[in-house]
């Protein structure tokens, strides 16, 4: 068997593995989420199918496959069918670039499907491609609610894309590379980046909530306003695919956050004192962190109310964007002039920043909470857009 073929096979194998891993996670995440929410709202979740309802996801999957696949009359069939596929494809693909462990730790193979020097960029690019899925889905349904929902969600996603992109710039400046492994390596030397990029982390965290359309940013599926947003006309497996995409995105986001800000697949170094080399164990740490973040996702959903749409947009443009920019500039300034003092000033600066946010929270809320002056005529607006 020629060499390249072997490599190819291995890659394919890993790809399939990751995909199914993600899907399984998604399946059980739905279960976990429903039960956790139930617990937090003091009721029992689904517990009929199997012990503790462990077979529930399976049942859901089977049901959604055997459900009738509607072909909406007004819909643009091709796009209508393609949209969920695009969404899920992007979602699944994104994960493959994340290293789940040190090189060759995966039965002698590298624990990642593909490795690029521009890891983050690629990941952002792919995830943002998911917008196509949603927008096309909304548009192709040929119905009003989905159209609005799709528009809203795409607008929301691209808006928060900015915050996301900008918030990691400071981090990139520190590390000087965009490859995940370099970043992880940097963190093993200097410690978790969340310490030095607190603001960055906060902005990234928030925007990843918005990116994955989770509460409090789950406007696209705001039942009260537009039924189920872009999902309205979808049912059966296509609907399921969209759901999958959303949850997989969530998982990916968690993984990214843990990789960028929490040391990735490496455990905290001090644990080596107890069990030598524990921080080197592959996979575990990453999965652990992902799990933590997923829990936070669910927790937030159970806790926070949903924003109004105008608040959402204003929040993204008026608060998140400038914040991320400020963080970038602060880091730049530090690197230009305060580098001599070591890394701790950054941490202090980050803390101060967050503290300031909390102190001035009323003022800050004023930025996005209350509607400002509405502009008068749409053409003037289009002109402003042209500028």
């Amino acid at each position: 068997m020629p060499h390249w073929l072997a490599d190819l096979l291995i890659v394919v194998l890993k790809g399939v593995l990751v995909a199914f891993g993600l899907l399984t996670t998604f399946a059980y995440m739905t279960l976990v989420e429903r039960r956790l929410l139930a617990r937090m709202q003091i009721r029992l979740g689904p517990n009929r199918v199997g012990p503790m309802g462990l077979l529930q996801p399976l049942a859901d999957a089977i049901k959604s496959i055997f459900k009738e696949d509607l072909r909406i009359t007004m819909a643009d069939q091709l796009v209508y069918t393609l949209a969920p596929i695009v969404a899920i494809a992007c979602a699944l693909t994104a994960f493959g670039g994340l290293p789940a462990g040190p090189p060759n730790s995966f039965f002698g193979a590298n624990p990642w499907v593909y490795d690029l020097d521009v890891g983050i960029l690629a990941l952002l690019a792919i995830t943002s491609m998911g917008v196509y899925g949603i927008f096309l889905g909304g548009w192709a349904s040929g119905s009003k609610y989905p159209l609005l929902g799709g528009l809203r969600s795409s607008a929301q996603m691209i808006s928060y894309e900015l915050g996301m992109g900008l918030s990691i710039l400071g981090l990139l400046m520190l590390v000087g590379s965009t490859s995940f492994r370099a970043i992880t390596g940097w963190q093993t030397q200097h410690g978790w980046l969340v310490l030095f990029q607190l603001l960055g982390f906060v902005t990234f965290f928030v925007s990843s909530f918005a990116e994955t359309n989770r509460t409090p940013f789950d406007l696209p599926e705001a039942e009260q306003e537009l039924v189920a947003g872009y999902l309205t006309e979808y049912s059966a497996i296509k609907w399921a695919l969209f759901q999958m995409a959303e949850y997989v995105n969530m998982i990916t986001a968690s993984a990214v956050m843990s990789t960028l800000f929490f040391g990735g697949y490496r455990g905290p170094g001090f644990l080596n004192a107890l069990i030598p080399g524990i921080s080197e164990w592959p996979f575990i740490w990453l999965f652990l962190k992902i799990a933590v973040f997923l829990f936070i996702f669910i927790w937030v959903r159970a806790t926070l109310p949903r924003l109004r749409y105008d608040q959402l947009m204003r929040f993204g443009w008026k608060l998140l964007f400038p914040l991320a920019l400020a963080n970038t500039l602060v880091t730049a300034f530090y690197l230009a002039y305060l580098k001599g003092f070591g890394l701790w000033p950054l941490g202090v600066l980050g803390l101060i920043g967050v503290a300031l946010l909390f102190v001035a929270s009323d003022r800050v809320r004023g930025l996005w909470n209350t509607p400002g002056k509405r502009l008068q005529d749409p053409t003037a607006a289009s002109r402003a857009g042209g500028d």
């Binding site: 053409t379 002109r383 042209g386 500028d387």
Partner: protein
């Protein structure tokens, strides 16, 4: 550690000033009244013009030669600033009637102007490209700014064809880079002089594509179709700006590229000669059949492009001075003529030629001024237009393009006919009531007077302007060193 660019801000001071003005206009537009913003803009332009003075004869450059503040650049920059200032002056009176009285107008104008300055100073294809695009994009906005069907439509046309032009231009840049392996004018020039035959076709293709791209920008036939629609569809003030500043800038770019970088490249000269001839014939013949004066001016702008392009044939040390002089004269004349239109028109459609009958008896001052402008455009002495055309002919002749010169001469008869038709109509007595806008417009009048006085003075004493640039040696280093 990659080497840092040298940051001597002095050479780019004019550009920076204009840019600052633009930013100021953008920001202050919310608080200040539009007129004051315009005045501010004019002041900025004056400052920038003043800042040209210390750079004269210094031959400075910045960013490793990406910006060259050599004399040609400065001369052209002066022309550009002049055109911008005239536009602003006219807009002071007419912008309100044209429903253009937004601070965005000034802001966009200044942005475009900074772009044009960048073109004039460019020492590098990338810089040139940036300047060109800053100019074009702002231009699209300017055309569309007046929210009317006409302006939208012309804006769309301008945009689509302009974008196509830029695309072709960029492809030409790519090919040129592929052939020479450098984007810097000096590098290209040196590569061109010692080129192995392998890259020859690539280079030729690149040069021709660049020519076509610029052809779109300066409206050389057959890339001129957008010109009449845009110039006549856009608000008159804007078409004033487009037909003066933007054209001058595009010619500055042409001069930089073909007079400097690609001077010794094959093929483009012949192509340019053919295009020039075509432009002269098309522009002049088409202009003869126009009924709307603004549209006529648009076509005559095309024709003038042909004459301007004459000066690009052959060696820059002969063409350069002629080109810069012609550009100055052209700017003044066109600005004055369009200013008169802007002052007298009732609607943005400009004046119908038949409505101009007897203008002399209703608005003697404007009529005489307009007649002088037309005479200058037609190339009648003693007005500056004659000297300019004459220099263009001479350049064409000296570089062995006699046939183009002859074509130009013949086509300029057609030009004379349509210019004179208008001029004569204005002086024919007419009993019908006035069709013009009567209102107080001092700034416009001032700019018209300025333009007319200037073209008369420059016609009688060309050395006032020509003497500054008539040194061959400053035109031989267009590519920078």
């Amino acid at each position: 550690m990659m080497q840092l660019p040298d940051v001597s801000l002095l050479p780019m001071l004019p550009i920076l000033l204009v840019l600052l003005g633009a930013v100021a206009a953008t920001v202050l537009g919310f608080t200040l009244h539009r007129r004051s913003v315009a005045v501010l803009a004019i002041i900025t332009l004056l400052l920038s013009a003043v800042s040209l003075v210390p750079l004269w004869n210094r031959g400075l450059s910045a960013f490793n030669g990406s910006l060259q503040a050599d004399n040609p650049a400065l001369a052209l920059a002066f022309v550009l600033l002049l055109g911008g200032a005239l536009t602003l002056l006219v807009s002071l009176d007419t912008a309100y009637r044209a429903r253009l009285s937004f601070p965005e107008f000034d802001a966009m104008l200044l942005y475009a102007l900074s772009g044009t300055l960048i073109i004039a100073f460019a020492g590098d294809l990338i810089t040139l490209l940036i300047g060109l695009e800053v100019m074009s994009l702002s231009g699209y906005v300017l055309v569309t700014l007046q929210d009317s069907r006409r302006s939208d439509e012309s804006g769309l046309k301008y945009f689509l064809l302009g974008a196509t032009g830029s695309a072709i231009l960029i492809y030409g840049i790519a090919l040129t880079y592929g052939a020479t392996g450098s984007l810097n004018f000096a590098g290209i020039a040196s590569a061109v002089s010692g080129l192995q035959t392998l890259n020859q076709p690539l280079l030729t293709a690149g040069a021709v594509l660049l020519l076509c791209g610029f052809g779109f920008k300066v409206a050389l036939a057959p890339f001129h179709q957008w010109t009449p629609d845009v110039y006549s569809g856009a608000p008159t003030v804007v078409s004033l700006f487009l037909s003066t500043v933007v054209k001058v800038a595009a010619f500055a770019g042409l001069l930089r590229v073909f007079g400097g970088a690609l001077l010794h490249a094959p093929g483009w000269a012949a192509a340019l000669a053919v295009l020039t001839a075509a432009t002269l014939v098309v522009g002049n013949l088409a202009a003869m059949f126009q009924q709307n004066f603004k549209r006529l001016l648009a076509y005559s702008a095309v024709a003038q492009t042909g004459f301007l392009a004459l000066t690009l044939l052959g060696r820059p040390e002969q063409g350069g001075p002629a080109l810069s002089y012609y550009l100055l004269v052209y700017t003044l004349t066109t600005a004055a003529a369009l200013a008169v239109v802007a002052a007298l028109q009732r609607s943005e459609a400009g004046l119908e030629i038949n409505d101009m009958r007897g203008l002399y008896y209703r608005h003697p001052g404007y009529a005489v001024a307009l007649a002088i402008c037309l005479a200058s455009l037609a190339g009648l002495p003693p007005f500056a237009g004659f000297m300019a055309k004459y220099m263009a002919f001479q350049v064409a002749f000296q570089n062995g393009y006699a046939w183009v010169a002859v074509i130009a001469a013949l086509s300029s008869i057609a030009a004379f006919v349509y210019y004179m038709r208008v001029a004569a109509l204005m002086f024919m007595p007419d009993r019908t009531p006035a069709r013009e806008y009567n209102g107080v417009r001092p700034a416009t009048t001032f700019s018209v007077a300025l333009g007319v006085a200037a073209i008369t003075a420059l016609g009688i004493l060309p050395n006032l302007a020509y003497g500054w640039v008539a040194y061959p040696d400053i035109w031989t280093r267009l590519a920078g060193t």
